[in-house]
């Protein structure tokens, strides 16, 4: 019985992993990149690059909010919603926006944003239209072209498979700590197995955490039933109870002047004198039902949202607050979302998150390559590879090499597409998918080792092109970023340079193994590079 249990677990691990490994690689790849989504968005908007971080960031917030409120009162006194994003350690720009009236047929009212330099309160040039890091963030659970609901269900199912694969993986890998520090290089599928084990074991807590909490972020879509059973009105009522600050006042037509924002801020500063404010929202400005919501930063607490306060917009009275005294269950739930998004992470932890994400990509990639390789090795001399094996090999190349190439293309497109192009943000995304499609088309027939080598070369070139194109089209470049301490920009460029070097190494490695086996043999570094993209 015991023997057959291990057997069925091995079987399950292989199949559950294989069925979704390419999709999982996409999710992990895009997800890992989105740990730096704010930095990427900054990189993608060169118009804001010259903004300096403020020395007294928190202290000048009250003044900034006052100023922006005066601006909004002039520009859009009757808008349904205002939003102010204050500068934060990761993003020095102060921006505010208001909702324009909704046109028929639009799902959401378009938002009109203005960007300011927080040091001088001068308006910055209108940044180019781009999704930036947000594209990768949405891609990792919305899959872009697919309908949002279907996509999320697919992602949930894939994550569930991943969790099953992780657990069965622990079960079957009995000597989990025995070979932890050993890696046998140049031994065919043996080396891939070692690489698979090392990349899984070294970040195992992270892998389990990120997969589990990933499903938790979408859980109310997957399992709304407890809420539906317990509450009369289902999910909506539950959310209203859980987050009273989201309760919207009924829009009213009656015009009433709003309370001075200073009164609202004073209440916050009396509560917590060093409050670090992240956002301010206003709903139904200048009406009888206006509301002001203030979000504070989380600090180093493992919570997804810091304290939030809802004020009556007319009287300035505090109506509700969240995140202050939560029950254990609510905290448990919220900390799971916080762990997944890692919004709280400061640079050191953020890099560790990124590193663990890379390990996750390596784990998935080595898993699919190992599988194809084993089947190859098992083929007898005269035997033709089956259709299934060929399909797996093609898909491996398309996903593992195509995705990083498409990512580089996306970044290059951000700099090269003309600024006045209509629907520019979507065109950038189109470039991403067209590049990927091109890699896919080149890999339909049969995959040989040279395909891997060409793609490694292409990827290396594309990666080096990104900082070069950036230097040619904007004022700054890799070296000036270093000299002026613009770490976000320096980081993005450096990541591409590192990735380029790794792809070069990979192409060398494939070439040197030419004589050994007649099969694609990418170096294990490949996965690392991909990630950096």
């Amino acid at each position: 019985m015991k023997e057959s249990f291990f057997r069925s677990m091995t079987w399950l691990h292989t199949w559950v992993g294989l069925l979704v490994c390419w999709l999982l690689f996409l999710i992990f790849f895009a997800g890992t990149i989105s740990f730096f989504k704010d930095e990427i968005t900054i990189w993608a908007k060169p118009e804001t690059h010259n903004v300096q971080h403020q020395a007294q960031r928190v202290q000048s917030q009250a003044e900034q909010i006052n100023y922006v409120f005066a601006q909004l009162q002039q520009q859009a006194p009757n808008s349904l919603s205002w939003r102010i994003n204050l500068p934060e350690p990761r993003n020095p720009v102060l921006s505010y926006g208001f909702a324009e009236p909704k046109q028929p047929g639009q799902r959401r009212a378009p938002f009109n944003y203005t960007h300011l330099d927080p040091n001088t309160l001068e308006q910055l040039p209108e940044p180019r239209e781009t999704k930036g890091g947000n594209f990768f963030y949405r891609l990792h659970f919305d899959l872009h072209y697919i309908d949002v609901f279907t996509a999320r269900i697919i992602v949930c199912l894939a994550s569930l498979f991943m969790l099953v694969a992780l657990i069965t993986g622990i079960v079957i890998h009995k000597r989990i700590f025995k070979d932890m520090f050993s890696f046998r290089a140049n031994k065919g599928s043996r080396s891939w197995l070692d690489a698979h084990n090392v990349s899984s074991v070294l970040a195992l807590p992270f892998h389990i955490m990120i997969t589990y909490t990933g499903i938790i972020t979408l859980i109310f879509m997957l399992f709304p039933y407890p809420a539906e059973t317990v509450y009369e009105n289902g999910l909506r009522q539950m959310f209203d109870e859980a987050l009273p600050i989201n309760k919207r006042a009924k829009p009213s037509e009656e015009q009433r002047p709003m309370v001075a924002i200073k009164d609202v801020l004073d209440q916050i500063y009396t509560k917590s004198p060093n409050a670090d404010i992240s956002y301010v929202f206003v709903r139904n400005a200048n009406t009888a039902s206006s509301q002001i919501v203030v979000y504070l930063a989380t600090g180093k607490e493992v919570v997804d949202n810091g304290p939030r306060y809802l004020f009556n917009g007319v009287t300035g009275e505090l109506e509700a607050s969240s995140g202050e005294d939560w029950s254990a269950s609510a905290q448990f739930y919220d900390s799971m979302t916080a762990l997944h998004s890692g919004r709280l992470a400061e640079p050191l932890l953020r890099w560790l998150y990124f590193f663990c994400g890379v390990a996750g990509c390596a784990m998935i990639a080595t898993g699919c390559i190992m599988w194809a390789k084993r089947l190859r090795e098992r083929l007898k001399a005269e035997q033709k590879p089956s259709f299934g094996l060929k399909l797996v090999e093609s898909l491996n190349l398309i996903t593992l090499m195509g995705l990083p190439l498409a990512t580089s293309a996306f970044f290059i497109a951000n700099r090269l597409l003309p600024l006045e192009l209509a629907g520019r943000a979507d065109k950038e995304i189109l470039v991403f998918f067209l590049t990927w499609l091109a890699v896919a088309l080149s890999a339909v027939s049969s995959i040989e080792k040279r395909h891997w080598r060409y793609n490694a070369w292409l990827n290396a070139i594309a990666c080096f092109l990104v900082p070069v194109v950036n230097a040619l089209t904007t004022d700054g470049n890799w070296i000036t970023y270093l000299l002026t301490n613009q770490w976000a920009l320096f980081g993005v460029d450096s990541a591409f340079i590192c990735a380029g070097v790794l792809f070069l190494l990979q192409s060398k490695k494939i070439a040197s193994h030419k004589a050994v086996i007649n099969k694609a043999k990418p170096s294990k570094n490949r996965v690392l590079k991909e990630q950096q993209g």
């Binding site: 069925s8 079987w11 569930l160 657990i167 589990y212 809420a227 029950s327 094996l389």
Partner: protein, 114 residues
């Protein structure tokens, strides 16, 4: 799916029918049914289980909902693995249907749905 690959794992299949090397149709159907049991059966079982727990737990409404929903993935995952660990497919289906039905009955008695 891929005949080659299926063949390669024939020896690893959960049921001890590895005597013949070829992949029979019945084997494929069995695998498919197991996945159906795991994905859909597991989903139904988990949904009913957590709904029942949310009603029964001696916590306030919000807490019991949040707690059970957060744990749902864990239950789902356990059921998924269990489906593949059990030898007989019949046992799997009967157990899932019976337990889900029983819990559903209990839930509807509590909530007065009947």
């Amino acid at each position: 799916m891929h005949s080659q690959s299926l063949d390669a794992v024939t020896t690893n299949r959960p049921k001890n029918t590895a005597k013949k090397r070829s992949v029979s149709l019945s084997y494929r159907v069995a695998v498919f049914l197991r996945f159906v049991a795991a994905i859909i059966g597991g989903y139904a079982f988990t949904s009913v289980l957590i709904s029942l727990l949310a009603v029964l737990l001696p916590l306030n409404k919000l807490d019991s909902v949040l707690l059970t929903t957060t744990l749902s993935v864990f239950f789902y995952c356990c059921v998924f693995i269990w489906v593949f660990a059990v030898k007989s497919l019949k046992t799997v289906w009967i157990t899932i249907l019976l337990t889900t039905g029983g819990q559903l009955l209990a839930l509807s008695l509590i909530k007065d749905w009947l």
